[in-house]
Every structure is written in structure tokens, then in C-alpha cells.
């Protein structure tokens, strides 16, 4: 399969999964379950990552600007860095690793044990039953996770600056809020919406394509994570180009 047909196949899979009758009466609980799976279950991991992102950002920024710029620059720099780039991209990569692989493995196992055939024979559209809730669930959960990660990183960064870098929290906060641009915050969120689509679609796509047995299920999980991560980075560039370019 060449690159163009792969892109076409992936896109048509997404369209087939989302542009169908949603039958919300039957689908809403599965969407909520995916919001829980992707959102709540990823939260501890995201909080750990965000905490260290906040710490690393403040230490690195302090190292670069210490003594040459006003101290509130720390808040401004770390804030913009986290909201525009680090928050959305690291949250998306963590969710890719955690959720795209589990989606591919779960759907792949269903494929090899004929559970997807069983859905078809019961006249239940497997795209609606399996893919739609995962895509919509991730679409809802990822931006929320991103905001939580950004808040966590900035809070930890501010506290570190206050206690270890002799930058009072008020000064850090002044830099953060004075140089806050809604466009940057919402630009970051816009990125995470795009990321959510490619993460969930990758997981479902590679799960659906499984033919064979356990080995193929493992391969599908790996492909899903690798593809989702590459697509996240590509989209990061493209969206940055459009919004901030």
C-alpha cells in the first residue's frame, strides 16, 4: 500500500466511523465509558508528566534568563511554552501511548475472535458500535486532559519558582497573566482536538485491520502508537503553521 492510498484508506475509515447515524440512545453510554477510559484513567499519568514538565520548564527557563531579564519573564515564558506547545503535545503523546495501543489491541482481539463478525450479523454497525464512541470519547477527553496538564505544570512551575528560585508566586503570576493571549491558549486546545481524532482513529484503524492471531494483535498495537505519534507531530507543525505561522 503506497502512502497516498494509505492516507485515503485511513481518511475513509474515519469518515465511515463518524459520518453515520449516531443513534445516541444506544451509543451515549459507550461514549461516556470512553470518556472515562481515556480521560479519568489517563489522569494519574498525565498529572505525573505535567508535574515534571512544569519543573523542567521552570529550571531551564530560569537558567537561560537568570540575571539578564526581569523575574516575571519566567511566568510569561513558561506559561506560553506550556500552553502553546508542551501541554498539548506531551498530553497527546502520552494518550497515544496509553490509549491508541489499547484500542488497537481490544478491537484487534475482537476481530480475531469473530466478535466483530458477530456485531455485523446482529445488524449492529461495528463502526458505530466500536469506533464512534472511541473517537468522540477521545475528542471530549483529550482537550480536558490538556487543560488539566497545563494547569498542573504551571502551578508546579510557579511553586518551584517561589520556593527555590526566589521568584514570588505573585511575580510569576504577573508574568503569566500579563502575557497571556487567549489565541495561544485556544490554539493549543485546537491542536489537542486534532490530535484526539488521529489518536483514536489510529487505534481503531489498526485494530480493525487485524487478520490472524495474537502476533498480529501485538503488531497492530505497535503500529497504532507509532502512527498516532507521527501524525500528532505532523499535525502539530501544520496547526502551528496555520495558527501561529
Amino acid at each position: 500500500m503506497n502512502l497516498f492510498s494509505a492516507i485515503g484508506d485511513f481518511s475513509s475509515f474515519f469518515i465511515r466511523s463518524v459520518f453515520i447515524s449516531w443513534q445516541l440512545r444506544q451509543t451515549r453510554y459507550r461514549i461516556l465509558r470512553q470518556v472515562y477510559e481515556v480521560g479519568i484513567n489517563s489522569l494519574p499519568l498525565i498529572l505525573i508528566i505535567a508535574t515534571f514538565v512544569g519543573l523542567v520548564s521552570i529550571v531551564q527557563t530560569s537558567y537561560q534568563v537568570a540575571g539578564s531579564m526581569p523575574r516575571y519573564i519566567l511566568g510569561a515564558t513558561v506559561g506560553r511554552m506550556v500552553m502553546i506547545e508542551l501541554g498539548p503535545i506531551l498530553t497527546a503523546l502520552m494518550v497515544s501511548g496509553r490509549c491508541a495501543s489499547s484500542m488497537a489491541a481490544e478491537i484487534g482481539s475482537m476481530r480475531v475472535t469473530e466478535q466483530i463478525d458477530a456485531l455485523e450479523i446482529m445488524a449492529i454497525n461495528p463502526y458505530r458500535f466500536l469506533n464512534l464512541p472511541r473517537i468522540i470519547g477521545t475528542f471530549i477527553a483529550l482537550p480536558v486532559l490538556t487543560v488539566i496538564a497545563e494547569f498542573d505544570a504551571l502551578l508546579v512551575g510557579g511553586l518551584y519558582a517561589h520556593f527555590f528560585l526566589d521568584v514570588p508566586f505573585g511575580v510569576f503570576n504577573y508574568g503569566l497573566t500579563h502575557f497571556f493571549y487567549a489565541r495561544e491558549f485556544f490554539g493549543g486546545l485546537m491542536k489537542s482536538l486534532f490530535f484526539s481524532v488521529v489518536i483514536a482513529t489510529s487505534g481503531c484503524y489498526f485494530g480493525f485491520r487485524v487478520r490472524g492471531g495474537a502476533r498480529e494483535v501485538g503488531k497492530a498495537a505497535t503500529f497504532a502508537v507509532v502512527t498516532a505519534s507521527i501524525l500528532v507531530l505532523m499535525l502539530d507543525f501544520l496547526v502551528a503553521l496555520v495558527i501561529f505561522g
Binding site: E106, E120, A123
Partner: protein
Amino acid sequence: MIEIRNLSKRFDSLVVLDDVSFRVNDASLVVVLGPSGTGKTVLLKAMLGLLPVDSGEVLFDGREIQTATEKEIYDIRKQVGFVFQGTALFDSMNVADNIALPLCEHTTLSAKEIRKRLCSLLEVVGMAGKANLYPQSLSGGMKRLVAVARALALNPKYLFYDEPTTGLDPIMTDRVVGLIKNLKKSHTSSGIVVTHDLETAKAVGDEIYMLKKGRIKRLKKIEKELYD
């Protein structure tokens, strides 16, 4: 009535179905007998449009499935209950949710009505009281019974059984065969049983066909023709 006309299917150079034609009359159970690997499951899946065929047609009450739209295919499939060889129960759901799934998806029954239907289905297959178990904790035979209950959920006009007794011990085999015979009497639905087990074929079949090397042939004097 289901009519299969000149159905052919090959995988690369391997001919699995070669001009297969037969008919399943209303209220009759047709058995397709054949050794493992002859394409019995392929036949069932091709009949339901799960596998594309090279040529031929399958008509459910005069409606051809191969040329039907997705909605029409789903309408036809709603009339079919299918018991998979590997049961294909959803392992993330318990017995109750497995059986209730088609009811939740295709009917507007209330939760209470679904529970009532669920209990009656579990009683029919002799699995009352097992609603909260998960497929992982059931034996092969019990899974088969739950799969039958799930297939019956929408009260289908046709029942398809794919190797319903394969891998079961003699007692469970008797139980499943008895269930198929009872369902034939009580539900008056027609269906197809594909099996390689001659005893099961003789016990449940109104008509028996033999599938071998892609060709299908009706058997009248079973032992003699099989021997030949």
C-alpha cells in the same frame, strides 16, 4: 425461504464453493455436512454477506443479499440468529449484556421488559441464574448455550449454527442437540446447521447436504452415500 443459487467462492487458486445451490424451506432445518476445512463456515458467512462471493446469489424471502444496500443487508440480518463455532461472545460483557445487546440495539423495550426476555431466554437454554457470569468463567458448552440464547434474542426467522457440537463432551453434545431440536419445534424457525458430526446431522436435519471439494450434494441414504 432461503435460496442459494450457483454460489462460487475461491481464495486465490483454492476453490471453496463451486456452483453451490440449495434451498432452505420454511420451518425446516438443513444440515450441511462435511469434513473440517471444506468451506462450511465460508458458506454461512457468504450467505450473510460477510464474505464477498465470486458469483451466484443468495435470496432471503426473494431479497438478494449480494446486491442489497447496507440497510437492506442489516434488515435481512435482523431475521437471522447465528451461533458461531467459537461462540464470539463479547468478553467485556457478562452473559446478560451479551444476550440483551441485540434487544437494546434494535428494540424499544424497557429495561424491565428486556430483563424479562433475558430470563426467559436463559431458561430456554437451561442457563437460568448465570446472567452475571462473564464468558471467561463459562465452560465451552455453556458458552455455546449462551450463544444460542443471544441468537434467539430477536426471535429470528432463521437460525444458523456453525459446528454447534464441536469440542463438546457427549453430555453437553446431547444437551445442545436436544436444544436445537426443541427450538425447531417451538420456534418454527428454519435454519442451517453446518457440522462435520454425522450423529448431530442425523439428529437435527430435515435435509442433509454434503459439501466436499466445493461441490454440494443432497444425501438421501446417508451412510451408504457417505461410504461411497
